[in-house]
Structure formats: C-alpha cells, structure tokens
Amino acid sequence: MVEKRTLIFVTLAVVVWASLASVFAGYYYLQFENSSKQLEEAQNSLSKSASSYDKATNKYNTLLGEYAELYGNYSYYTGDNYTEFLKPFKKLIDKLAENYATLLLTHEDLNKTYLELLGKYETLNQQNNVTKQEFENLLNRYYNLFSLLALKELEKAISESVKLSVNICINYSDRIEWYNETQVPAGTTLFEATKKIANITYTYYPLLEPGHILIDSINEKAAYTDPSYTCGYSWIWYYWDESNGRWVVGPVGCDAWHLRDGGIYKWNYEKWTWP
C-alpha cells in the first residue's frame, strides 16, 4: 500500500512535470505559428517579386525591340540628313516616359537625365539637318537612360523581398558619425542611402558619367572651393575593400553605386589642391 504522503509528493512531481511540459508545448506551438506566418509572408513577398520581375522584363523586352528596330533603320541608312528618324525617336522617348513614369517621378537624378535627353531632342528637332554623329549621340544617351531605368525597375522588383543592411560613416574632419546597420531596400544607391540618413544638398552634372551627382553638403557641412580654384574641400566617398582591408575611393558617382549587403561606406570631407 502506497503511503498517503508519498502519493501527495508523487502527485506534486507529476503536476510540476505536466505544467512544464505544457508550457514547453505552448512555446513550440507559438514558435511554429510565428514561423508559419513568417514563411507565408516570405512566400507572398517572393511571389510579388516574381510577378514584378515578369512585368519589368516584359516591358524591357518590348522597349528594347522598338529601340532595336530604330537602331537597325538608322544603321542601314545611307543618307546625310537624319531628321526623318527624329519622329520615331520621339515616340520611343514618350513610350519610355510612359512605361517608367513612376521611376522618373520618384528618382530625381533619373528624371534630370530624362529631361536632358528631351532637351537634346528638342534642340535637334529645331535643326533642318541632323548629322549621323548627332543622332548617334542621341541614341546612345537614350540607351544609357533606358538601361538605367530597366535596371532600377528590376532592382525594385527584388527590393520587395530583399532588404540590405549597410554601414555608413560620415567623417566631417572634426568629428565622425557612424550609421551602422542602416536598412535599405535592395538596389539602393549610395546617394539614396545618404539622403536617408543625413540632410544633403547636391548638384546634378549632366556630363559626368557614370553617375551625375556631386554632394555639396552633408548635415550643413558644405564643400568649398577657393575663388582661385587652386584648393578647396569636397565630399569624397569611399567603400571598404574587405579582401585588401583598406578604403577605396569611389570610382563612380554616388548615384551610380549600388550598395551591397553588409557593405561599409564612408563620406570624407577632404581638402584638395590644384594643380
């Protein structure tokens, strides 16, 4: 016969074990629910990305086909005056603007490039004679902008499911600020990321390529050029080269440099002299 006291304590031990087992079951149930929810969200976001990607590639292929048609006609043309190609070219620009309207509206730098192209076209349209060289320049400018817009559109599709974490340093020469683990969508350029973390002013240079933007000031610290043009201070950007363990000066404009996940970037307020 089991003693009453022993029975009580065995019961207590069972209660402890059962309660702990229940809360653990509850914990794993909640974890499972959360994971299922996250998985569903990830799947939805991937489907959305896939659908956006499809749309973007379709758009790209259609516009590329139309560009190729015009380029073919231009290549086989033997005359001296290329004015007759301006009309189909205008159609091409209009279609480009129509297809990438949102991007042009949200990306000031791309919009400026587009307006520059439109301006070039208008200038040529006023002329009675358009040379091969002039039209070729126009086509090249169009193709560059088209490629950039298509790339942006594809990045936008990816950014719906991919987020990047980057580290940005701003060296004001008298102090340094770090913006660690800044979350940005995939496809973000250094210019866009800098705009996100600081107040900046900048100038758009149509002739600079790739990337048309130079930063004039970051958080009120402005670049400066001596009136003699022999020295001054500028905002120069660098990226951290992990394999060689050193800072590398940005090879292109900040609006053309796409950030990578875990990348480290630096804005340096630097003195320069000329010559």
Binding site: F9, L12, V16, S19, L20, V23, G26
Partner: protein
C-alpha cells in the same frame, strides 16, 4: 516578537536581499529557499510577510531593473512560498529517511518555483493585455515564452531545496534562539 527573533529575521532579510541582488544566472535564486525556511521557523503569517517584503525591496534594487507592474505579482508569489513553509512545518517529522526527505524537499522546491513562475508570468501577461494584446493570447504567450526560464527555475530550486534543506534543519535545531520559537514543540527534521 522578542528581540532575538527580530534580529534573526532582520539578518535573514539582509542575507536574502544581498543574495537576490548579487550577480547570478537568471532564475537561479535562494530567496524562495530562505523565505520557505522563515515560514517554516516563524509560521505562515511571518513567512508570507517576509516573502512579500523581500520582493518589494528587490523590485526597486534588482540588477534586472525596476519590476514595475510585475512587483505585486512577485510579492504575492513569494508570500505564498513563505506561507507554504509554515504549512510544511506541520507535516515535518523525524520518521522520514534522509533520502526520502531530500526528495520530498526537492519536489517541494520545484513545485514552489512553478507556482511562483505561473503567478509572475500572469503578471507579465497582464502587461501584454495593457499594451493591447487580446487577454487569452497575452496570458498564453507570457506562460509559453517563460517556459525556458521556468525550467531553469524549477530545476535550480529543486536542487537548492534538495541539497540545502537537511543541513539547514540541523543548523536551526542547534541554534539557541530556536528554543523560544521553532523548537518550542518538536525539533525540526534532523
């Protein structure tokens, strides 16, 4: 309450708070053991008051930060621990074998830790409710997410109770001040 009893209570309170505030792994504690002993030696009411008071002070000084809304739940939880000590005194006797007694106290330690955790986790659940979570989900989440901490607490308390109870009983039996309080009737387990 005589002076010697008061002195022993004050000493235990200080000891308890010092251990409670000392750096230690989360949920490994000696407070419930000491509170239980106070309940055992001084009775249910004194044990409950002692437990509530220690958690009140701990709520302000804890290295984990101010307890806030959870403090009343911690006080109630520890008061129950002290109260149970007083009740257990009525059932301790010398006929038990040492192994059985150790096992018993270990189970008791685990059970007390479980009750304390359920009460404090409900306190956390109420905070979730106040921040807008539906009541059932809030309580369920608080209990579920506290599972690992509860497991650590129950295990450590079982070990503390199982290992320390018998030596403590022997020490308390040998103390002269016990003659006026906990040794008035029969000695503690020895």
């Amino acid at each position: 309450m005589n002076t010697s009893k008061l002195a022993s209570l004050i000493t235990l309170t200080a000891l308890c708070i010092a251990i409670q505030l000392a750096p230690r792994p989360p949920n490994v504690e000696f407070t419930s053991f000491i509170t239980f002993i106070v309940g055992l030696t001084q009775g249910t009411i004194m044990g409950a008051l002692f437990g509530a008071f220690v958690m009140f002070v701990n709520g302000f000084l804890s290295p984990w930060g101010f307890s806030g809304l959870n403090m009343p739940f911690q006080m109630v939880g520890m008061a129950i621990v002290g109260f149970s000590g007083g009740i257990y005194r009525k059932f301790t006797h010398n006929e038990l074998k040492p192994t059985q007694f150790c096992l018993e106290t270990a189970i008791l330690g685990g059970f007390i830790a479980l009750i304390y955790d359920i009460i404090t986790n409900i306190g956390v659940g109420i905070q979730f409710i106040l921040s807008g979570t539906p009541p059932m989900l809030a309580i369920f989440s608080a209990l579920a997410y506290g599972a690992f901490f509860s497991a650590v607490h129950v295990s450590s308390n079982s070990i503390v109770f199982g290992v320390l109870f018998v030596p403590f009983m022997k020490i308390l039996n040998g103390l002269k001040i016990g003659e006026t309080s906990w040794l008035k009737k029969e000695p503690l387990y020895s």
